[in-house]
Protein backbone atom coordinates (compact mmCIF):
# COMPACT_ATOMS: atom_id res chain seq x y z
CA UNK A 1 0.00 0.00 0.00
CA UNK A 2 1.05 3.61 -0.60
CA UNK A 3 1.14 6.31 2.05
CA UNK A 4 1.92 10.01 1.82
CA UNK A 5 4.54 11.28 4.23
CA UNK A 6 5.85 14.75 4.92
CA UNK A 7 9.47 13.61 5.09
CA UNK A 8 9.71 11.05 2.30
CA UNK A 9 6.86 11.91 -0.03
CA UNK A 10 4.76 9.02 -1.27
CA UNK A 11 6.19 5.70 -0.17
CA UNK A 12 5.21 2.13 -0.72
CA UNK A 13 4.89 0.09 2.43
CA UNK A 14 4.24 -3.57 2.94
CA UNK A 15 1.21 -4.31 5.04
CA UNK A 16 2.86 -7.23 6.78
CA UNK A 17 5.63 -4.95 7.99
CA UNK A 18 3.29 -2.70 9.96
CA UNK A 19 3.99 -2.59 13.66
CA UNK A 20 1.02 -1.98 15.92
CA UNK A 21 1.34 0.12 19.05
CA UNK A 22 -2.10 -0.53 20.49
CA UNK A 23 -1.97 2.38 22.93
CA UNK A 24 0.25 4.53 20.73
CA UNK A 25 3.38 6.27 21.95
CA UNK A 26 3.11 8.47 25.03
CA UNK A 27 1.56 11.75 23.96
CA UNK A 28 0.54 10.21 20.62
CA UNK A 29 -2.13 7.81 21.82
CA UNK A 30 -4.28 8.22 18.74
CA UNK A 31 -1.70 6.77 16.32
CA UNK A 32 -1.25 3.02 16.34
CA UNK A 33 0.36 1.87 13.10
CA UNK A 34 3.99 2.39 12.20
CA UNK A 35 6.61 1.03 9.84
CA UNK A 36 10.37 1.10 10.27
CA UNK A 37 12.28 2.69 7.41
CA UNK A 38 16.00 2.29 6.99
CA UNK A 39 18.09 5.42 6.62
CA UNK A 40 21.21 5.49 4.45
CA UNK A 41 23.28 2.37 3.99
CA UNK A 42 25.05 1.39 7.13
CA UNK A 43 23.48 4.12 9.21
CA UNK A 44 22.32 2.86 12.60
CA UNK A 45 19.52 5.44 12.56
CA UNK A 46 16.11 4.47 11.30
CA UNK A 47 12.73 6.09 11.04
CA UNK A 48 9.63 4.95 12.82
CA UNK A 49 7.14 6.29 10.30
CA UNK A 50 3.52 6.55 11.35
CA UNK A 51 1.11 5.01 8.87
CA UNK A 52 -2.02 6.68 10.30
CA UNK A 53 -0.52 10.16 9.90
CA UNK A 54 2.21 10.68 7.32
CA UNK A 55 3.43 13.80 9.13
CA UNK A 56 4.48 11.84 12.16
CA UNK A 57 7.82 10.04 12.34
CA UNK A 58 10.54 9.46 14.90
CA UNK A 59 14.23 8.78 14.53
CA UNK A 60 15.06 5.56 16.34
CA UNK A 61 18.22 3.63 17.07
CA UNK A 62 19.13 0.39 18.77
CA UNK A 63 20.73 1.35 22.08
CA UNK A 64 23.61 -1.06 21.65
CA UNK A 65 24.79 0.73 18.55
CA UNK A 66 26.01 3.56 20.75
CA UNK A 67 26.05 2.16 24.29
CA UNK A 68 28.24 -0.47 25.88
CA UNK A 69 25.27 -1.91 27.73
CA UNK A 70 21.63 -1.09 28.20
CA UNK A 71 19.87 -3.11 30.83
CA UNK A 72 16.15 -2.88 30.88
CA UNK A 73 13.60 -4.90 32.72
CA UNK A 74 10.51 -5.71 30.70
CA UNK A 75 7.76 -6.11 33.28
CA UNK A 76 5.27 -8.96 33.19
CA UNK A 77 2.50 -6.56 32.28
CA UNK A 78 4.53 -5.03 29.42
CA UNK A 79 5.41 -8.49 28.13
CA UNK A 80 1.78 -9.59 28.37
CA UNK A 81 0.61 -6.46 26.57
CA UNK A 82 2.54 -7.39 23.43
CA UNK A 83 2.17 -11.15 24.03
CA UNK A 84 5.93 -11.47 24.35
CA UNK A 85 6.77 -15.04 25.23
CA UNK A 86 10.42 -15.39 24.34
CA UNK A 87 13.07 -12.86 25.30
CA UNK A 88 14.79 -13.33 21.95
CA UNK A 89 11.74 -11.94 20.16
CA UNK A 90 12.08 -8.58 21.91
CA UNK A 91 13.53 -5.88 19.69
CA UNK A 92 14.51 -2.72 21.47
CA UNK A 93 14.77 0.81 20.10
CA UNK A 94 15.16 4.20 21.69
CA UNK A 95 13.84 7.45 20.24
CA UNK A 96 16.38 10.06 19.16
CA UNK A 97 16.11 13.85 19.14
CA UNK A 98 18.43 15.66 16.75
CA UNK A 99 18.77 19.38 17.47
CA UNK A 100 20.36 21.97 15.15
CA UNK A 101 23.76 20.98 16.48
CA UNK A 102 23.84 17.22 15.89
CA UNK A 103 26.60 16.74 18.49
CA UNK A 104 23.93 17.41 21.07
CA UNK A 105 21.62 14.69 19.87
CA UNK A 106 20.02 12.71 22.64
CA UNK A 107 18.32 9.37 23.11
CA UNK A 108 15.36 8.73 25.37
CA UNK A 109 16.55 5.81 27.47
CA UNK A 110 13.70 6.10 29.92
CA UNK A 111 10.96 5.41 27.42
CA UNK A 112 12.28 2.72 25.07
CA UNK A 113 10.20 0.93 22.47
CA UNK A 114 9.85 -2.80 22.78
CA UNK A 115 8.60 -4.66 19.75
CA UNK A 116 7.70 -8.33 19.68
CA UNK A 117 9.19 -9.57 16.42
CA UNK A 118 6.88 -12.60 16.51
CA UNK A 119 3.67 -10.59 16.12
CA UNK A 120 4.89 -7.05 15.41
CA UNK A 121 3.19 -5.59 18.45
CA UNK A 122 4.98 -2.80 20.22
CA UNK A 123 4.78 -0.70 23.32
CA UNK A 124 6.64 2.26 24.69
CA UNK A 125 7.64 1.10 28.13
CA UNK A 126 8.98 3.06 31.08
CA UNK A 127 12.33 2.07 32.47
CA UNK A 128 12.53 1.86 36.23
CA UNK A 129 16.30 2.25 36.10
CA UNK A 130 17.05 5.65 37.59
CA UNK A 131 20.12 6.05 35.36
CA UNK A 132 17.92 6.04 32.28
CA UNK A 133 16.84 9.59 31.60
CA UNK A 134 14.82 10.94 28.69
CA UNK A 135 17.76 12.95 27.38
CA UNK A 136 21.04 11.09 27.24
CA UNK A 137 23.72 12.52 24.97
CA UNK A 138 24.52 9.92 22.38
CA UNK A 139 28.08 11.10 21.76
CA UNK A 140 28.87 10.91 25.49
CA UNK A 141 27.65 7.34 25.59
CA UNK A 142 29.77 6.50 22.56
CA UNK A 143 32.83 7.87 24.30
CA UNK A 144 32.08 5.81 27.38
CA UNK A 145 31.63 2.77 25.21
CA UNK A 146 34.92 3.33 23.42
CA UNK A 147 36.69 3.59 26.79
CA UNK A 148 35.03 0.39 28.03
CA UNK A 149 35.91 -1.49 24.86
CA UNK A 150 39.51 -0.34 25.19
CA UNK A 151 39.55 -1.55 28.77
CA UNK A 152 38.24 -4.95 27.75
CA UNK A 153 40.74 -5.16 24.90
CA UNK A 154 43.63 -4.24 27.19
CA UNK A 155 42.67 -6.83 29.75
CA UNK A 156 42.61 -9.43 26.97
CA UNK A 157 45.98 -8.29 25.64
CA UNK A 158 47.61 -8.41 29.06
CA UNK A 159 46.81 -12.09 29.56
CA UNK A 160 49.95 -14.21 29.37
CA UNK A 161 50.42 -16.02 26.10
CA UNK A 162 49.46 -19.65 25.99
CA UNK A 163 47.11 -19.30 28.91
CA UNK A 164 43.95 -20.98 27.67
CA UNK A 165 42.11 -20.88 30.96
Amino acid sequence: MKISTSRFGKIEIIKDEIITFEEGLLGFGEYHQYVILNADDGSPFRWLQCVDDGNLAFVIIEPLSFMFEYDIEISDSDAAFISLERAEDAVLYVIVSIPANPSDMTANLQGPLVINAANRKGRQIISSNSRHSVKVRILDEMEKRAAKLKEVQESLDSKPEGDES
Binding site: S6, R7, E17, I19, L25, L26, G27, F28, I36, A39, D40, S43, P44, F45, L56, A57, F58, V59, E62, L64, S65, F66, S75, D76, S77, A80, E88, D89, V91, Y93, I95, V96, S97, I98, A100, N101, P102, S103, M105, N108, Q110, G111, I115, A117, R120, Q124, I126, V134, K135, L139, M142, R145, A146
Partner: protein
Protein backbone atom coordinates in the same frame (compact mmCIF):
# COMPACT_ATOMS: atom_id res chain seq x y z
CA UNK B 1 -12.44 14.56 41.76
CA UNK B 2 -12.93 12.56 44.90
CA UNK B 3 -10.97 13.95 47.81
CA UNK B 4 -10.55 11.79 50.90
CA UNK B 5 -8.98 12.67 54.23
CA UNK B 6 -6.78 9.97 55.70
CA UNK B 7 -4.58 9.54 58.75
CA UNK B 8 -1.23 7.75 58.83
CA UNK B 9 -1.59 4.02 58.16
CA UNK B 10 -5.14 4.41 56.90
CA UNK B 11 -5.89 2.93 53.52
CA UNK B 12 -7.82 3.50 50.35
CA UNK B 13 -8.90 0.73 48.03
CA UNK B 14 -9.33 1.29 44.29
CA UNK B 15 -11.26 -1.40 42.48
CA UNK B 16 -10.79 -4.80 44.05
CA UNK B 17 -7.06 -5.06 44.19
CA UNK B 18 -5.29 -1.73 44.36
CA UNK B 19 -4.57 -0.70 47.91
CA UNK B 20 -3.07 2.62 48.85
CA UNK B 21 -1.76 3.34 52.32
CA UNK B 22 -0.59 6.62 53.75
CA UNK B 23 2.77 5.65 55.23
CA UNK B 24 4.09 8.94 56.50
CA UNK B 25 3.39 12.65 56.48
CA UNK B 26 6.26 15.17 56.40
CA UNK B 27 6.22 18.93 56.31
CA UNK B 28 5.57 19.23 52.60
CA UNK B 29 5.43 15.67 51.39
CA UNK B 30 3.65 12.43 52.06
CA UNK B 31 4.89 8.90 51.67
CA UNK B 32 2.44 6.58 50.00
CA UNK B 33 2.53 2.81 49.78
CA UNK B 34 0.83 1.07 46.89
CA UNK B 35 -0.14 -2.58 46.75
CA UNK B 36 -1.26 -3.50 43.27
CA UNK B 37 -1.11 -6.52 40.99
CA UNK B 38 1.91 -6.62 38.69
CA UNK B 39 -0.37 -5.96 35.75
CA UNK B 40 -1.14 -2.46 37.03
CA UNK B 41 1.33 0.18 35.91
CA UNK B 42 2.33 2.54 38.69
CA UNK B 43 4.60 5.46 37.87
CA UNK B 44 5.22 8.94 39.13
CA UNK B 45 3.12 11.25 37.03
CA UNK B 46 6.16 13.38 36.14
CA UNK B 47 7.81 10.41 34.40
CA UNK B 48 4.84 10.04 32.10
CA UNK B 49 4.80 13.73 31.39
CA UNK B 50 8.51 13.86 30.73
CA UNK B 51 8.39 11.02 28.22
CA UNK B 52 5.40 12.59 26.47
CA UNK B 53 7.27 15.86 26.23
CA UNK B 54 10.38 14.15 24.91
CA UNK B 55 8.33 12.26 22.31
CA UNK B 56 6.84 15.55 21.08
CA UNK B 57 10.31 17.04 20.93
CA UNK B 58 11.68 14.05 19.01
CA UNK B 59 8.80 14.19 16.51
CA UNK B 60 10.12 17.59 15.38
CA UNK B 61 13.18 15.97 13.80
CA UNK B 62 12.49 16.07 10.09
CA UNK B 63 15.79 14.99 8.62
CA UNK B 64 18.97 13.08 9.35
CA UNK B 65 20.97 15.52 7.22
CA UNK B 66 22.43 17.43 10.21
CA UNK B 67 24.28 14.24 11.10
CA UNK B 68 26.35 14.62 7.94
CA UNK B 69 28.20 17.49 9.59
CA UNK B 70 29.54 15.19 12.29
CA UNK B 71 33.17 14.13 11.86
CA UNK B 72 33.50 10.83 10.02
CA UNK B 73 35.47 9.24 12.86
CA UNK B 74 32.47 9.71 15.14
CA UNK B 75 30.11 8.20 12.59
CA UNK B 76 32.48 5.24 12.22
CA UNK B 77 32.20 4.55 15.92
CA UNK B 78 28.55 3.60 15.74
CA UNK B 79 28.08 -0.10 16.17
CA UNK B 80 26.82 -2.36 13.47
CA UNK B 81 23.12 -2.90 13.33
CA UNK B 82 21.94 -5.61 15.65
CA UNK B 83 20.86 -8.65 13.71
CA UNK B 84 17.80 -8.90 15.91
CA UNK B 85 16.22 -5.92 14.23
CA UNK B 86 16.39 -7.73 10.92
CA UNK B 87 13.50 -9.81 12.15
CA UNK B 88 11.27 -6.79 11.76
Amino acid sequence: MLVLTRKINEKIIIGDDVEIVLVDIGKDQVKIGINAPRSVKVHRWEVYEEIQKENREAAKTTSLDPLKSLPQDILNKFGKKDSKAKKL
